[in-house]
């Protein structure tokens, strides 16, 4: 189970660095007390995850992830944070019992996941890898998955119109 068989290619080093970055970003997001810092470390995690997608040769997903999550959602979060007041930020009183229990729980979860992943074998044959996978995504979206794709678009349009309607109502001066 602990036999890892790793050769140190450029790809492996990149994977290792990105994985560490993703974890560090997530941990910092939990530990920071200022909300802007939290939002930034979440963005850092998103970028590291995008790097992992690149390593898996899913470039399209990777850059769309950065474009949407880092470029749009994080900026929206930071906007929202800046528009509100944060006077009550500060350290919470420590709760030793809860923290110990949480640590034990985390270790158990890690053990289970580690055991599960190391013992799993993947009998399914990997699908043949397409060279131009961005084109493949487009093909699939507009042939086999056309209807779900259109349904999602309709859903988004409805959400969009709903958001505008809500914003308009608040503008009314009564």
């Amino acid at each position: 189970m602990l036999n890892f068989n790793i050769d140190f290619t450029g790809e492996f080093v990149a994977f290792f660095v990105l994985a560490v970055c993703a974890i560090v970003g997530a941990v910092m997001a939990i530990n920071f007390t200022k909300v802007v810092h939290t939002a930034l470390s979440i963005a850092f995690t998103f970028i590291a995850l995008a790097g992992l997608y690149v390593l898996l040769e899913a470039e399209f997903i990777a850059f769309v992830q950065v474009l949407l999550y880092v470029g749009a959602i994080t900026i929206l979060m930071i906007f929202g944070i800046m528009m509100t007041k944060h006077d009550g930020e500060g350290l919470e009183p420590p709760r030793p019992l809860l923290e110990t229990l949480a640590a034990i729980g985390c270790l158990c979860l890690f053990g289970i996941l580690f055991y599960g992943i190391r013992n799993a074998n993947f009998p399914a044959e990997a699908a043949p890898f397409k060279e131009d996978n961005t084109r493949e995504i487009g093909m699939q979206l507009f042939t086999q998955y056309a209807i779900p794709f259109e349904l999602v678009s309709v859903l988004l349009t409805v959400a969009f119109i709903g958001a505008i309607a809500l914003a308009k109502r608040e503008e009314d001066p009564q």
Partner: protein
């Protein structure tokens, strides 16, 4: 560069990666130094002035002297600023701007990373710089810089949409997001370059690009007359230099991107001229675009804040969508 990726990472290959990165950095810094010099010179001539002409022959060392001055300047951090973020923001702005340069194909064989989704890569990374600008504005704890940062974020997010949409037409015509394939699809005479069949997309792209660069007439984030200097009011010394460097590296990236997407990249205007190396053609077109950016800056007045958003959402975006439909029709009817 691609084949080094699959080899074991030895000190040799790591050295090659590092050397290539440093080479690009040196070249880009050289470009930025002289882009600033020529910008000041051109604007000077256009305004019937001399421009810098004292430091070195013809003033050629002016930018070098300016950078040296910035290096030796006292590095101030406001007392009430968020210290960590204040220090982080310039770095966060610079790193993506430099990383963007990895995908540019200068000629058929000179390219660092052959990405499947070259254009998306640019858009995605430039979004990170937007975060850095907002953070810089917020961390300075100054109302002018906060306003500048906010304006900048709103503007960059709005203009990203028409920028992406205007390129969809090009992507449809060449059937690929890969920048190399887009250039290869434009081979032939200069009327095969995308800027003629995609003239609408080209126009939208140029306007949105100038706005993404935060340059006049869209330089509201740093409008001196209203906001002192926008998001970098509190920055001085080398941190300020980093923001300037970022801006000019994006000028470099956008000029390269325009060359690749609309002006045929390394292709000569007529195939009989292909004895001149492609890199030279690339940089010739690149220089024309950079000159046009300076020219626009010297000529146009600044937009008002309320006109700015209206232009992006009510004019450029519908036009970009119209362009997509027209391109689809064109491909169906003409082939």
């Amino acid at each position: 560069m691609q084949h080094f990726w699959d080899q074991p990472l030895s000190w040799g290959t790591a050295g090659i990666f590092a050397a290539a990165a440093i080479g690009v950095l040196a070249f880009v810094i050289f470009f930025v130094t002289y882009a600033i010099y020529f910008e000041r010179k051109f604007i000077g001539w256009m305004q019937y002035r001399q421009g810098p002409n004292r430091t070195g022959p013809l003033g050629l060392l002016q930018s070098v002297a300016d950078v040296a001055k910035l290096l030796f300047k006292e590095d101030t951090i406001p007392k009430k600023a968020d210290r960590g973020l204040f220090i982080l923001a310039p770095v966060l702005a610079f790193v993506p701007s430099f990383a963007v340069l990895a995908f540019i194909p200068y000629s058929l064989n000179l390219q660092f990373a052959d990405l499947n989704v070259g254009f998306l890569y640019y858009i995605a990374l430039s979004g990170i710089t937007t975060i850095a600008i907002v953070v810089a504005g917020w961390a300075s704890n100054n109302k002018y810089s906060l306003l500048g940062g906010m304006r900048s974020a709103a503007q960059m997010i709005s203009y990203e949409v028409p920028l992406v949409m205007s390129v969809v037409g090009v992507v449809m015509m060449s059937g690929s997001l890969n920048l190399r394939d887009i250039v290869i699809a434009q081979e032939g005479y200069f009327w095969h370059w995308n800027f003629l069949p995609q003239i609408l997309g080209f126009g939208i792209f140029l306007i949105a690009a100038v706005s993404e660069l935060n340059r006049t007439p869209f330089d509201l984030p740093e409008a001196e007359s209203e906001l002192v200097a926008g998001y970098h009011v509190e920055y001085s010394g080398f941190r300020f230099a980093f923001f300037m460097l970022t801006e000019y590296i994006y000028v470099y990236a956008i000029a390269s991107l325009t060359t690749i997407l609309f002006l045929g990249g390394w292709n000569p205007p007529i195939p009989q001229l292909d004895f001149i190396p492609g890199v030279l053609w690339f940089f010739l077109k690149f220089a024309v675009i950079v000159f046009c950016l300076f020219w626009i800056r010297a000529t146009f007045p600044r937009l008002r804040v309320d006109q700015l958003m209206g232009l992006a959402w009510k004019v450029l975006l519908p036009l970009a969508i119209l362009n997509i439909f027209l391109t689809a029709l064109g491909i169906e009817l003409i082939g």
